[in-house]
C-alpha cells in the first residue's frame, strides 16, 4: 500500500492548506489521543500534568506535528528521510507501534472537524496512506 503519485500530490496540496494551523492540529490530536485512548498516558507518566489542555500536551503536539510537516517534505523517501527519528523511536522512546495508528486516527478526526470541505474521501485516503507510511518509517529500526 505504497504512495503513488496522486497520493503524494493530494497530500502536498492538502498540507499547504492546513500547514498554517499545524501547531493547533498537533495539540488537538494529542489531547484527543490521551482522552479517547487513556492507555496512551502511560508514555507521559513523567509529566505532572497530563490533562488535555496542559502546556506539556500543547508543546508536545506541536513537536509531533512538526515531524509530520517534515515528513511531507521527504515524501519521496520517508525511510531515508526519517532515519534519525526512527532511531529515536526505536531505541529511546520505544513507543509501541500500535499507538501510531491511534494517533493517526486522531489526526484524521481533527482534520475532518477543522477542514470539513477540504477533507474529502479522496484526501482522506491519501492522508491515511501517508500517515501509515510515516508510521512504517518510524518503526523501521524497531527490530
Amino acid at each position: 500500500m505504497s504512495l503513488n503519485q496522486t497520493d503524494k500530490e493530494r497530500v502536498k496540496a492538502f498540507w499547504s492548506k492546513v500547514a498554517g494551523r499545524a501547531d493547533a492540529i498537533g495539540a488537538e490530536s494529542l489531547a484527543r489521543l490521551i482522552v479517547v485512548y487513556p492507555q496512551t498516558k502511560t508514555y507521559f507518566a513523567h509529566w505532572k500534568d497530563v490533562s488535555p489542555n496542559s502546556p506539556n500536551v500543547k508543546k508536545h503536539g506541536k513537536t509531533v506535528m512538526g515531524g509530520v510537516a517534515d515528513a511531507v517534505t521527504k515524501i519521496d523517501d520517508l525511510k531515508g528521510g526519517l532515519l534519525s527519528l526512527s532511531e529515536l523511536h526505536a531505541f529511546t522512546l520505544r513507543v509501541d507501534p500500535a499507538n501510531f495508528k491511534l494517533l493517526t486516527h486522531c489526526i484524521l478526526v481533527v482534520l475532518a472537524a477543522q477542514f470539513p470541505a477540504d477533507f474529502t474521501p479522496e484526501v482522506h485516503v491519501a492522508m491515511d496512506k501517508f500517515l501509515a507510511a510515516v508510521a512504517r518509517a518510524l518503526a523501521e529500526k524497531y527490530r
Binding site: 488535555p52 478526526v109 481533527v110 472537524a113 477533507f119
Partner: protein, 147 residues
C-alpha cells in the same frame, strides 16, 4: 456488562437524536469504500464502483448506507444490552453476508470522521471518546457470534 455514565448516555442520545440519516449514512459508507477499497468486495451487485466519484453518486450505496446507519438505532435504544440485541444480526453478518468482522471497525472509523466533519469543533474529545466507545461495543457485538 458495559458501564455507561450519564454523560455518555446523554452524548450518544444527543448525537442520534439530531442525526441526518439520509446525509450521514451515504457519506459514511461511501467513504469506507473509497478509503478502504477492499471493502468493495461485499458490493459486487451494487453497480458502478469504479472510482470515488462513481461511489459517491451511486444510489444503491446511498440507500444501503442509510439502512446500515439505522441498524445502530437498536443499540442506542438498548445501550445496556447491546450484546444480546445484536446476537441475531451477528449471526446474519457471519453466516449469510460473510463479512470479515475487521471491516466493522473500518466503517466505524469512517462514521466517526463523517460525524466529526459535520459537528466541527462541537465534536470535542469527550464526545469522540463516548462515540467511539459506543461504536466499539457495537462492533464487538456484531463480531460475537462468528465461529
Amino acid at each position: 456488562m458495559v458501564e455507561w455514565s450519564d454523560q455518555e448516555r446523554s452524548i450518544i442520545n444527543s448525537i442520534f437524536a439530531s442525526l441526518d440519516y439520509e446525509d450521514i449514512g451515504p457519506k459514511a459508507l461511501s467513504r469506507c469504500l473509497i478509503v478502504y477499497p477492499w471493502t468493495q468486495r461485499y458490493f459486487g451487485g451494487f453497480g458502478n464502483l469504479y472510482n470515488a466519484e462513481a461511489i459517491k453518486t451511486n444510489p444503491m450505496i446511498a440507500a444501503h448506507g442509510i439502512k446500515v446507519l439505522h441498524g445502530l438505532d437498536r443499540a442506542v435504544k438498548n445501550m445496556d444490552n447491546i450484546k444480546a440485541t445484536y446476537a441475531e444480526l451477528s449471526v446474519m453478518h457471519s453466516e449469510k453476508l460473510h463479512i470479515d468482522p475487521d471491516n466493522f471497525k473500518l466503517l466505524a472509523d469512517c462514521l466517526t470522521i463523517v460525524i466529526a466533519a459535520k459537528m466541527g469543533t462541537a465534536f470535542t474529545a469527550d464526545i469522540q471518546a463516548a462515540f467511539q466507545k459506543f461504536l466499539s461495543v457495537v462492533v464487538n457485538a456484531l463480531g460475537r457470534q462468528y465461529h
